[in-house]
Symmetry: C2
Subunit: 367 residues, 2 copies
Amino acid sequence: MSSATKTYTLDGSFKMHRGGSLQSPTLAYETLGSLNAAKDNAVLIFSGLSPSAHVASSDVDRSPGWWEDMIGSGLPIDTDKYFVVSVNSLGSCFGSTGPASIDPVTGERYRLSFPLLTLEDIAESAMLVVRHLGIDCLHTVVGCSMGGMSGLAFCLRHPRAVSRFVSVSSATRALPFSIAVRSLQREMIRSDRLWQGGNYDISEPPITGQRLARKLGMITYRSAEEWTQRFGRERATDPVQPGVQFATEFSVESYLENHANKFSGAFDANCYLYLSHASDMFDLAEYGGSLASGFKKLDLEKALVIGVRTDILFPPQQQQELAAGIATVCEDSKLVELDCVRGHDSFLVEMDAFRPVICEYFDSCAP
Amino acid sequence: MSSATKTYTLDGSFKMHRGGSLQSPTLAYETLGSLNAAKDNAVLIFSGLSPSAHVASSDVDRSPGWWEDMIGSGLPIDTDKYFVVSVNSLGSCFGSTGPASIDPVTGERYRLSFPLLTLEDIAESAMLVVRHLGIDCLHTVVGCSMGGMSGLAFCLRHPRAVSRFVSVSSATRALPFSIAVRSLQREMIRSDRLWQGGNYDISEPPITGQRLARKLGMITYRSAEEWTQRFGRERATDPVQPGVQFATEFSVESYLENHANKFSGAFDANCYLYLSHASDMFDLAEYGGSLASGFKKLDLEKALVIGVRTDILFPPQQQQELAAGIATVCEDSKLVELDCVRGHDSFLVEMDAFRPVICEYFDSCAP
């Protein structure tokens, strides 16, 4: 955990959206910049499935965060003007309570006894941190990928606690292609005999299933177009499994192998299962029975929806749907469709395309 | 194996394209219709990765074949006019010699001692059957999916043995997205501990890995668009693993589960690995050093390239590339891009779209 990470532990029970509760859950969070006297400059960031609360470096922790080039002094989300709050999602494994945490009631890890997790729970638990920090109304909620849906849940449930919303490569709900991909990723982990029905030895996690799931992830986070340009049919120069039949031969295979190696062991398998499942379950239409009724529950002064042409997990038509729906209830809303080639991951790697859009947004409504 | 399936066993050794040889390999094949006196009405069909030689029903075997609605009396490839030859690919497990066959030299199954398989070997072994049937020049070679590349290999290597070529949802070579998908499918099988480095117990094959690979296959054989229309966020009515956490919940998951169940056990795991790998390796540019030089080796009187807008494994730009290249060496060539929604599998399931195109082709050059 980053040295910049603080924790807040709820004194009492946290009721989960779909039933069950957590006793005194902890939320790990980081803040950058300062809350102004009017307390109207706070920006809450919801991350995708895998990051920690460490969204950007600071004097306390100089290691780069997951949105390093977006948040900081003089950057698009300018910490000289804004007070940025980033919470590690409930259910994750970087300081916030999740399936890998010890259940204070039993003294054992929750594992699969952790209650069914929803993005509503992630939103509500982030609200605990917001209140803890003494913030009544957030300037903006920003959500990336899964975090865009968590952010939407936040705006739906706490319309008075947020004025503005930025959705980055997200959606109103998952489509069957994304559900199929995530379902298969979860099955890869569950099929690894080391998973042991969730009761794996922490020193011997289901790494094979996790590696397979990560590789499928990479296939859907990037785009076929990028890979055609970048790899073509180039052969790997560093075959990672020399001598093994059917092993790495093309550069694209070597690339996947390197990404799987970097990720493996970094994320708890059960936490991954819970968060992945929560992504499938969220549905704006559950707010009143239809997307239209869901949108009507929003009360936003300003909104921005950004998406990428080559994103296959949260494709352009989902960006258009989200923006069009928000526009029915928010006068100052905007859709920006970027022509990035790196698919869903573009918001993390094509900063030259994303920075101006985020910058223009925050400049136009600076407190 | 279908009762309509015949076999031809080579008397002698078959030299493999990338080294090694097979002693007296057997090729399983089926024929429909009759070879005419001029011997100019023979159509050779190359299948995708998984089918047997049973391409269509006949009086001998009334069970439907894998392209049942395309081949038969009065159908687009009309067996009243054409003599259709369908060969089970070398390396497969439906009668032709492959990794699951007994090596006559050792008396044991080949397994991973089977030599490296290429689509050139599939083309050359099909040529053995063509010669065995007394055919000097084929009217048309038709290849679907992987079979389109096998067919291309055939046309490149035996320009005098074929006058016309039909490529259905295929390409000049695999792009990195398809390579990544197939590489991951192979890794799923290799990661199953029952695979045992290829030495699995035939009664206990690596079914878990094969099921995962099949599900990933289905995700890439169909299209996100189809699934949005067909399933949306509909819940499964028949949860196949009730009570199991993270198990089937959405209709799309139930659909994948049913497909995996149907396929599992039907295909030998090692054969799958060899054929999948061969699909990655084929490259028209290996014929002379570039795609242009490869195309120049073709000598075709007529050609048809058909593809589908929603195919992500053999996408539209690959259809355009193939058709444009063939057009540089063949006066009567045509590209048809179909607006089917069912992705790569459309040629098997959207027959109303494919039939007229294939029908027009064969009617226009009937012997």
